[in-house]
Point group: C2
DNA sequence: GCAAACTGTAAGTTGACACTTTCGTAAGCA
DNA sequence: TGCTTACGAAAGTGTCAACTTACAGTTTGC
């Protein structure tokens, strides 16, 4: 699954920051690395992971490489998670509401009983 | 950040499966482990990670421990990611549309030029 | 062609992590 | 009081991942 790699990529805080940096604008590898306190190769490796997981695109211009978020990749991940909750959270909510209704009914009955005594 | 731990927890496929299992219904540690082909302690460790990250609740009954998804934890993670895309994806979409409009405009101009020649 | 600029790649290290087997513990039961 | 059940905790192992330093590859200006 390609989304699996993207999810793992996103799980790393530094990579989330990188993704945020190149979200709107294109940025060169060097300018990205300059914003972190780790070495440039470390960022280069993060960039590769993000690119391989489909979350980033690379554009070469001269000696420089510009990176930018890849909307399709981000969308795929978003949809995967959306489905992960949607198919389940909805039922959770329904269950919670049903449980609450049961509770309220039980309370009402208890009050009725007390009244009758 | 608590959400950070939850995101890391979710990044593991097996833990996503566990979470799905206890999404609607409560399940004992043993019955959860029985559905996987790894040893029981391995699942026990996964359960701990999920619990510590706030995605699961534990209820003890006799010698057994029942686990269940914790809606608030899941919701927190969901909202965190929602914000992660929302603040950014929207602009990405706007940018993509603007780029497309520019492209179409350029195409139209090219066609006009060809007609005039 | 040659040096400088910008970058990825290779190799090694350290720590985290997903497991395993073994042991400990608490509750229920004969 | 033992014995069983249902677990988690501890300790050990192999693998992966996030770094580091050192090196190699491309493009550009002279």
């Amino acid at each position: 699954m390609a989304v699996d790699a993207a999810l793992k990529a996103i799980a790393e805080p530094r990579r989330r920051e990188i993704l945020r940096l190149v979200w709107h604008r294109e940025l060169a590898a060097g300018s990205i690395a300059a914003r972190f306190d780790v070495t440039r190769p470390a960022i280069s490796q993060h960039l590769r992971i993000l690119k391989d997981s489909g979350l980033l695109t690379e554009r070469r211009e001269g000696t420089r490489r510009f990176y930018r978020a890849r909307p399709e990749g981000v969308e795929d991940l978003r949809e995967f998670l959306e489905e992960f909750w949607e198919t389940s959270l909805r039922r959770l909510k329904v269950e919670a509401e049903a449980a609450e209704r049961r509770l309220r009914r039980a309370e009402r009955r208890a009050i009725e009983r007390r009244k009758r005594q």
